[in-house]
């Protein structure tokens, strides 16, 4: 594998990993907000 192919591979992996990190990070944040909301709704007033 030449140097250019290695760099191509690394950049492709970086793009895919960052895409999933952004999407899953947002989903996790949304999940935490949803859970907090459910907990606060269950709390007796």
């Amino acid at each position: 594998m030449n140097q250019s192919a290695v760099l191509d591979h690394q950049f492709t992996v970086a793009a895919y990993v960052l895409t999933w990190a952004i999407q899953l990070g947002y989903l996790a944040w949304l999940g935490l907000r949803w859970r907090a909301q459910k907990r606060s709704a269950r709390r007796p007033r």
């Binding site: 192919a5 760099l7 191509d8 591979h9 950049f11 492709t12 970086a14 793009a15 895919y16 960052l18 895409t19 952004i22 999407q23 947002y26 989903l27 949304l30 907000r33 949803w34 909301q37 606060s40 709704a41 007033r45």
Partner: protein, 234 residues
């Protein structure tokens, strides 16, 4: 029944995502000039398409809110929740576009970024919707929703400019993949399949997140209304 429908949608999405990944990484052939790095295309372009769709949904929600806010208060609140949820998920997808684009550009053009029309208008679109979200987050008062809706409508004017930018002006960014004249389009069927599966997968993923975000926002609106009612009664 509702739980079954939600479970079905989640299952479809969870099947589509790895299938899209497989198509992009293993099934699609290497592109002749850019080789492996061209595979970023299968995440970059579908993300751009989904972000455009969600900004359109957000625009429709804001127009709906302004049209309904005087006579149909609950429907206006639902429209506003769609506007906010779609803008937020649209920003997430647009962020993916702005992150994957420079990675691809660095290998394909030798530079991370250039201020050409397509890249600049996309960044401006992202900044407009981030400012919309910041307004929603930090502003308060009865006029906030209406002001945000107006900002959304003006901000959405940038979306067609982004779409047309590489048709109207000469750009570093490649010419349109679709709808760009006789030479545009994906010629290789395996590449086209990989692209179509990834559009479908990211669309399903985006719609699922959008539905969850809408649900959270509606619940928050209801909680706020109930708390206001309790404060009046106390």
């Amino acid at each position: 029944m509702k739980k079954f429908a939600i479970g079905f949608c989640v299952a479809i999405t969870l099947l589509l995502m790895p299938w899209g990944f497989y198509q992009a990484i293993y099934a699609a052939p290497d592109e002749q000039t850019m080789h492996e790095v061209q595979r970023i295309f299968y995440y970059h372009v579908p993300s751009a398409m989904v972000s455009f769709l969600f900004f359109a949904i957000s625009l429709a929600g804001s127009i709906g809110f302004l049209a309904l806010r005087r006579n149909h208060r609950d429907r206006a609140q639902a429209a506003d929740a769609w506007a906010l949820a779609a803008a937020e998920v649209g920003v997430v997808f647009c962020t993916v576009v702005l992150v994957t684009g420079p990675l691809w550009g660095r290998r394909a053009w030798g530079i991370w970024w250039t201020w050409d029309a397509r890249l600049t208008t996309t960044l401006v679109l992202w900044l407009i919707y981030v400012s919309y979200l910041l307004l929603r987050r930090f502003a308060a008062g009865p006029q906030m929703q209406a002001l945000a809706a107006v900002l959304n409508i003006f901000g959405a004017l940038d979306a067609p400019i982004v779409y047309m930018s590489n048709r109207w002006w000469r750009t570093q960014h490649p010419s349109p993949v679709f709808g760009g004249g006789a030479d545009s389009g994906i010629k290789d069927p395996a590449m086209l399949h990989a692209f179509a599966w990834n559009v479908l997968a990211w669309l399903a993923w985006g719609l699922l997140i959008l539905a969850l975000r809408y649900h959270v926002e509606r619940q928050q609106q209801k909680d706020a209304a109930r708390q206001a009612q309790e404060a009046i009664e106390a």
